[in-house]
Symmetry: C2
Subunit: 201 residues, 2 copies
Amino acid sequence: MERSDETTTKPLIAFLENIIPLNSGEKQLVNEYFKPRLYRKRQYILQQGDVCRRLNFVVRGCLRMYRVDEKGDIHIIQFAVENNLIADLGSLYSHTASHFNIEALEDTMVLQIEYKDLFELYTQAPKFNRIFRVLIENAYIILQDRLLQNISSTAQERYSSFTKTYPHLLNRLPQTQIAAYLGITPEFLSKIKSELLRNGK
Amino acid sequence: MERSDETTTKPLIAFLENIIPLNSGEKQLVNEYFKPRLYRKRQYILQQGDVCRRLNFVVRGCLRMYRVDEKGDIHIIQFAVENNLIADLGSLYSHTASHFNIEALEDTMVLQIEYKDLFELYTQAPKFNRIFRVLIENAYIILQDRLLQNISSTAQERYSSFTKTYPHLLNRLPQTQIAAYLGITPEFLSKIKSELLRNGK
DNA sequence: AAAAAATCTTAAACTACATTAAGACCATTT
DNA sequence: AAATGGTCTTAATGTAGTTTAAGATTTTTT
């Protein structure tokens, strides 16, 4: 099966081989199970209330995963850019309604695997258990760090840390998205930025 | 090798078989690699600045994992009670200094596996990759939920949620620990509790 | 090119939570 | 039995962040 440049599983395979090299059979499985799909800006990969049925790997573009609460406020729990995996794992594995939306912030090309195919992947090539164990361990470490920051740091500290950790996202995202990620209002973020500017740098 | 009732790997094996059944060789490996150890109340399993060298499974008792910041404030990122796993994964896998302390809040019996033995376990019996993948996926889901709450809920909502999720911890821990977990001061927690009492229930 | 929509900034009034302090109630040690 | 030290509460004052609102700037749509 021929795929265009934009839709090959090459970047995904490179990403996985970063953990452990794959043999040709394993690459073949990745190639079979992951399907390319383009989402236009503002399209939804997942909507709150639906069951999350696919794991997504971002080839190009940018997604956000967020929740809208009862008051209508938006809370972003994750951005996903090139070479990131994203899904609502809770919903994906337990087949229950998701609390989250996943939405394209730019035109975004993803490689998607269905739940049942992911299960097949684990069964047919157990190496993927090891690879995904390592990947989710890394994701866990990052998430734990973010939780710690949210418990223990001021908004200014969190913003400064964000600018260091995700410099490439700073100019790519509107401030209102960054504020929703930091857990503050856009107005307060604006204030923080002007304070940081005033106090040199 | 004989072990006393308190120090068998039985509860751990039951815990792991909750995910996938083990054959006798696999059980044997668990039995060999996990070593029992008793920590007295206030003893440290891990101290900030040291490298985390073991993964811990709690058989009996209660641990807390926390960070002391520059101001001297304590921030609890996880409690671990019976049938919980706990370690600083970041430090364990990258062999770097940990930012966290793990301390016994009660006399606590744990089963510990060294990093190199954990690696051996994964290599000798690949099934453990699958088991630990599932375990850490579950942990990730819980952590993500907690992050969302911390971004989006008031302290009162977080406390109410804590009482529902961890009713068994409520009477077991001093309020000051719960406050450090919720990310608020003990004084404010006291206020929240009296408000909840006043407004019926 | 104009119109519409989203974004960013500033500022005043408000609220959730922190800080400090003091006293009451325990539990543990001596 | 007294003393010590941790725990819980209440209250006054302070501060980080919200809300509301309005104007300026940029981006998107028509």
